[in-house]
Amino acid sequence: MGEETAFSVTDQVEINPLYMFRWEEAQDAYVLLYPEGIVKLNETAGEILHHCSQSSSVGDLIKKMKTHYAASDPATAEKVEDGVYKFLEVSHAKGWIRRKT
């Protein structure tokens, strides 16, 4: 991961159209489906991608995640923000998400 892949609040991200993201009742989890592959997401990862697809920017996504986790105090809010950035970086490296162009 080089510096050029770090996300900023103004970035617009979307789920890579190669991947199908959806809630799967039988797994009780969000899943990513792609050619010949399945990723079952843990609760946090699933929530981030779920909100990601409904957010206008990374900043907006962070705001939504803070609301989702009721992060009212600064320490929790910072933890949520760090968590989102970290997950976006990993998801980007895995090809699950991309910058909107």
Binding site: V31, Y34, P35, E36, I38
Partner: protein
């Protein structure tokens, strides 16, 4: 089918996450490594459209997510579009695994409309003479045209190249071809030796030198193209000393339904001649998955013998492949002889040694043909 290189490592929590429908064993090609049974012509009583739809419904109820339409050549079935449409409506991620033969633009558009998500197209080389000779018919140019159509209509595509001695030296050219086609996934699938491939093993198995050169070319391309194309290339188990984590374990996440309705833990397992596989014509898919003797036979670890039983890698490789153990040692509960810890590993080592010998005697390939079924089944 879950591929060794795709990084799929899943606990199905008792659910068959992958459902693979072999719609037919019929195929216009004659590939000498075909995974279909050598007596494939004996299974001509294919499930009807309505029977396949019931399989699809029951599979979804069991928790299946990924769905492969395969064969034979699934395009031979005129109801493919109808089945894709039905499966899509049920919420499957639909994959078509095809030779491309018979895929017109009109059918491609119909499949798109039906909700098909991705296409895995096989191609055997970048050289039409090599491809045509390997598949026993004039196919290369048609396959290339189909590849372009698939990209034109914006399907994600896995280009699947079965790797054998006869095409492995063309890997650099195949890489270039895939780049030009702009495929997202290129999979070099080292042929595995069951059924037709086992009959032809001596002729098909590449040498170590060939594989090393191919892998170097793959790595060079990977470094250059980065994320634009994902390339799968896994050293075959015969050379690795480690068995493949076959099907992620028997009856663990994978369920195949054969053209005649037999529920199979994998596409090759009819080679286990003593095992009776139940049909969806007589039983529900849930019964076949949960209750049938065949699916419980090698599920979990209770069946394991030494060295698997006390091996620290049994959670990762599940003791390898039951079919390979059976075919090479006569007992499916033996450790896969591809494993360097297997007491039968010498069988694999000898085959490899023979394949790499400088003065090999060449034999003609046994092509997949219905009228060969009888004599090849006997000699195999």
């Amino acid at each position: 089918m879950p591929k060794a290189g795709s990084g799929v490592k899943l606990d199905g929590q008792g659910q068959p996450l992958w459902l693979c429908l072999e719609l037919t064993y019929r195929c216009p090609l004659q590939c000498p490594w075909c995974s279909n049974p050598v007596d494939f012509a004996d299974y001509s009583d294919e499930l009807t459209t309505e029977e396949w739809k019931r399989v699809l419904r029951e599979g979804r109820e069991l928790g299946a997510l990924q769905l492969g339409f395969t064969g034979g050549e699934p395009l031979i079935r005129k109801d493919l579009e109808e089945l894709v449409d039905y499966a899509n409506g049920l919420g499957y991620y639909t994959n078509l695994i095809t030779s491309g033969m018979g895929l017109t633009e009109e059918r491609l558009l119909d499949l798109k409309k039906a909700g098909l998500k991705q296409i895995q197209l096989s191609i055997q080389s970048c050289d039409s003479n090599v491809t045509n000779e390997l598949v026993g018919t004039d196919a290369h140019d048609k396959k290339l045209a189909v590849a372009k159509l698939i990209k034109k209509h914006d399907f994600p595509m896995v280009l699947n190249v079965p790797v054998v001695r006869q095409n492995v030296d063309l890997v650099p050219g195949i890489l270039k071809m895939a780049e030009e086609l702009k495929v997202e996934f290129l999979e070099f699938a080292n042929v595995q030796y069951y059924n037709w491939a086992l009959l032809n093993r001596k002729e098909l198995i590449p040498t170590k030198e060939q594989l090393d050169r191919a892998e170097a070319a793959v790595n060079e391309t990977r470094a250059r193209v980065g994320d634009d194309m994902t390339i799968y290339f896994v050293i075959p188990d015969y050379y690795d000393g480690k068995p493949k984590a076959c099907m992620n374990g028997w009856g663990n996440i994978h369920l195949t339904v054969a053209p005649d309705g037999s529920g199979l833990p994998c596409q090759e397992c009819r080679v286990l001649k003593d095992v009776e596989y139940n049909s969806v014509r007589d039983h529900s898919l849930a019964w076949i998955w949960h209750e049938s003797p065949a699916f419980n036979l090698y599920r979990g670890q209770d069946w394991m013998k030494e060295p698997c039983k006390t091996c620290d890698e049994k959670e990762q490789d599940f003791g390898g492949c039951r079919c390979q153990s059976y075919l090479l040692t006569g007992d499916a509960t033996n450790t896969d002889p591809a494993c360097s810890r297997s007491p039968f590993h010498n069988l694999v080592e000898e085959t490899v040694k023979e394949a790499n010998a400088p003065n090999r005697i060449y034999q003609p390939l046994v092509m997949r043909r219905a009228n060969r079924s009888e004599n090849t089944a006997v000699s195999g």
